[in-house]
Amino acid sequence: MSIRTISTDVAIIGGGAAGCYAALCLHREGIAPLIVCKGLVGKSGASLFAGNLVISGKLLGNTDEEASNTAEFLIKYHNQFLIDQRWARRCGEWIERVYYPELEEAGLYFRRDDAGNVVTSPGKIRSVAANVQGNSGVPFMDLRRKQVIRAGIPRLEETVATALLRNADGAVAGVFCLDVLTGDYIVVEAKAVIMATGYSDRLHKRSTGTREMSADGIALAWRAGAALVNMEMQWWHTNDIAHPPSWQRMQVYPNPMLGSEKSARMVNSAGEEFFNQQEDDPLAFGPYTVQLKALAKQVHAGKARYDGGYFAGFDNCDADEVDRYTTYGKVYRQLGLEFPNTLVETAVTSHYRQGGIDVDTATMRSAVPGLYVAGGVGGHSNGLIALATFDGKVVADGIVADFPAATAKPPAPSEIEFERRRLDDLRGSAGHGPAPVAVKEILRDIMWDKAGVEKDARGLEQALEDLSRIRSDLLPEMRLSNTGLRANYEWLDAIDVANMVDVCELIVQSSLERKESRGPFFRTDFPDTDNRDWLVANVMTKSGNGVKFERRAYDLPFFAPDFERKANLEVAW
């Protein structure tokens, strides 16, 4: 089959908040970007899920205390101190100075009341919504999609990036792509590649990751030689809908509500309330880790399970105050449940990966020449749509600075040929084993059972054995029932599976390496948070056929933990 070649200045893999903003910034600088998106730009991925938008600095009358709370929340509750605090400060300043005015000028509608005030959530940290709370990501990303179209930035949509292509100097100089709807191969030649595939990776049985997610960004970057950091740091949602399965991505948002003093509450199987953000931890604005710790105690007491048996809802509120500015009632109403008087069964869902590709936060360069990173797939911070957007700006600045020196050597033909064969072979898979989609489910079960919320060395070692068996026994025996080219999602599944196995292994190895518990990372064999030895970046690099770990300390210029060692379940964050 022939391969179409497209040349551009910068190839961006991912069409979410980070990728779109990077594209727009580069375009403004006269550098030609091209977006490769496995789904649809602004319609797939995690950015859509932004429920509300946090106010930083002194915006909208924020007090000094509220500004400081926001920073503290980001560093402590959101990242458990595993973050470059100076990057966080730069980001906060930019959000205040540029992000909000720029979005509004472009037309994003920050919800007003009839008197014309921007509606905020009250409390120690304030937020606003784009049109409606719970749905802010939809108009936000729709705006980005239109800005990208308006700028004439080319998009390859429903097109999966399957490999980073290096040139003779070893620099990343292109991307191998498959157009999923037509089955065409496309090579995008570029002087720089930005990996912007997002926060989630859908590697667990229950995951907020969207359909197309399979940890592609991490797998591709790792194979090209990038270092990874804190891969074990997995964020969990604690009250996502338990039934039906498709709704596992739908959350009973525990955050403060716009225009109300109340928020959702969580109740165990005995009907006892065990979490309510407004009362239990007002500084935990997105209280997911605090909730998770509260839930773990219920699980240990036999009053909940990680996969259900506890409930969440708004029965402490009036329908009016929930409906006024939020979409939160939609789940209950669609099920015909009386709202807000009924609670719904919820369960834990793997959410964002805090870790990811190791980057220099000043330029967003990875360890591999030509490869840059933006947004959630980076290991430098955990998610918020504003942070991902800021990365889009920083990476564009980094590329603009490097651009004059960028090499124009095309990808090595051998790399292109290797990838073409690999994909052809996958499409022709005719073994005696399961379909790729079944292998995906097996992987997700293993990760849920052995690398789930609570883990220990034994389970993790077993997970590694299971993964190695999948690699040796199942992958070569996969079978496709259809070898056609058009919209062959079975073929796509086969491509995904290879990425998933690799990244699952890296996560398990990284989880074994961190010998403490921290925030949402629970090791039952190391239950303490250990700030003396483990307030560090857990960096992994390739070493021969294996991996090598290294610990890198974090500077703590603004916020530092106030203890050296403590049982993680007793730590607030």
Binding site: S44, L48, R112, V119, P139, R150, T210, R211, R324, V437
Partner: protein, 337 residues
Amino acid sequence: MAAPAPTLSPATRLGQAERADTLALRNARLSPGEIIVVRIRRSDGTESAGRLQEFAVPYQKWMRVLDALNWIAENAATDLAYRWFCGSKMCGTCAVRMNGREVLACWEAVEPEMTIEPLRNLPVVRDLVVDRSRYETKVAGFEPWLRRADTYPGFPEPLSHKQMKNASKALDCISCMCCYSACPVIGLGDLTDFAGPAPLVQLGQTALDPRNDQQKVAGALAQTGIFNCVSCYKCEEVCPAGIPIVSQIIEPLKAKTAVLVPAMARHALALRAIVATRGRVDPGALVLRVQGLGALARLRRILRLLVRGKISPLRTFFAFKTAAAAPARRILGRVPP
């Protein structure tokens, strides 16, 4: 602290209560393990209609149409082609027709027996996957981005929710194409130049935004063929986002078109003027005003209309008025064209 907005209207609450009965029933009629029958229209995009393939799927608690499709793709037809990303009514890519009705697969409860087909009015790529580019091209052609008449004053700019009322409804759109598939005028194909409900909702996001330079909307409105809309409300009926597409998007856009591109609204404006002066619909006057005196040359048609009593030349030429003229003028005077 913001002043509280008015609560939802009593009518909305009443609607919610009525729907609750139906939804409660739809979610309770099957028990886990019961078998549902799913027929899926499968095609490789080149056949005309494809063929129906039948599957038996075990019901799971509160199962959605998407859960049934996922079950089939994992257990029975691993090569089933269907599109979805978020599974939570945000990305708007999983819309299909279930038993002849457009639904968002991730949002709609399964039925004991259901036939699942791809959306209409868009070409099929394979099985349930449709090619969205027809819609995308139309929307891009509208250039639906904000162009401010005035300089942006800085965050937060003066703006109230009252001013944004209609645009804010349009912002709930997830471009799922349910309305586009359900629209009978789009179903007529090239017989009209109607843009269709989904593109109009997208246009409404900025065209109904008071911050937008209204003159710049005219070019987009001229491409909408909006007066081909027959106000049948099919689009509203199927919209999973609950957008009042006709009443709060298309009608305000029609009104805007009448002002900015009056040539497109000749028929509507003539009808309005006739009702306002005569207190009744006068088909004869309407034909004359819209088509001009040239209409008189079509003798056969005129005869047919006369015989069927559709037109009455005497009433038309003597500008016969009814008692409703005064109230009609009063009512129409309250609403801009």
